[in-house]
Assembly symmetry: C2
Homo-oligomer: 175 residues x 2
């Protein structure tokens, strides 16, 4: 069961090029337009790290000096870098967001996490994803010809999704 947080969390997951970012943006736009303070978080994956920050050299020397977390804040942006031994969990990131009291957090990725999920299904082969993740609240398929992916999970067609954004957010609400 997901750890209860003080705000709703929606995970948008799916394989590469299944339209996750576009879907996240639609949800953010809809919620923001309805005056919900909406935050987003994207899992960039561990294979390649983020581009060093402008003032990076300093924060790197801090790291080399032994700091387990180094941060640089400026120009409306904060970058934190964590020591190799620190594995930052989504729960910790959610705690960070909590301090800014959002009304909604839309998360892109983190397939294996436990929060309410919208799964993007582009092609037949993607259907397998549904059997491997937890807490799916809605499935969005690109192609109505695709076999019905699930008996008991609401399925939406991508082409009409803009008419169902409120419903999607509602389905994912757990708080």
């Amino acid at each position: 069961m997901p750890k209860a947080s003080s705000f709703p969390i929606i995970q948008v997951i799916g394989y590469k090029n299944s339209g996750k970012t576009t879907m996240v943006n639609r949800l953010i736009r809809y919620a923001s337009d309805h005056n919900i303070k909406t935050a987003s978080l994207k899992h960039h994956g561990h294979q390649d790290s983020l581009t060093p920050i402008h003032a990076g050299t300093d924060s790197y020397t801090h790291k080399e000096s032994g700091a387990f977390i180094t941060g640089v804040e400026g120009g409306g942006s904060l970058q934190l870098e964590f020591g190799e031994d620190i594995d930052v969990s989504l729960d910790q990131l959610i705690k960070i967001y909590e301090s800014f009291s959002p009304g909604l957090l839309v998360v892109e990725g983190y397939k294996q996490e436990v929060h309410p999920k919208i799964v993007m299904i582009r092609k037949e082969a993607d259907l397998e994803l549904i059997t491997t993740v937890s807490n799916i609240k809605a499935i969005i398929r690109w192609n109505a010809q695709l076999e019905n992916p699930s008996e008991d999970i609401p399925v939406f067609e991508l082409e009409h999704i803009d008419d169902h954004l409120a419903e999607l957010i509602y389905l994912c609400k757990e708080v």
Copy 2:
């Protein structure tokens, strides 16, 4: 009075090229070598913002879609970007660090903040800084020929500072 936090905070402040970063690194190195989980935060200033992250385009579309905070996590790094209307206070940043329970936070910059401060004094003209900031616990001067900057604040000579790191950290401890 500084807001009490669960861990000591040391601010290293000074004008440009007064040796802030070097001093911060010495403190981090010393504390880490003594098994204190040390975190660092550098104020990069609002004039120029941090380099966009690798996966920036996505997080920018999130922002354009109306997200008031967008984040990208990956490769042991987290970058948060805040909407124009959000002014992130040092207190909020400290709250973020708190979630990783550090033993010490060394902050570079944030002159106007309230936490215990070490002030770097390189030249005569820098002395003015001492009169404009609060909660100074120690002064480090580059040149012993400089007039004694303060009656009641401990003054250290930069050339011997490595013998006084424990003392500096002790002087700044408020928790």
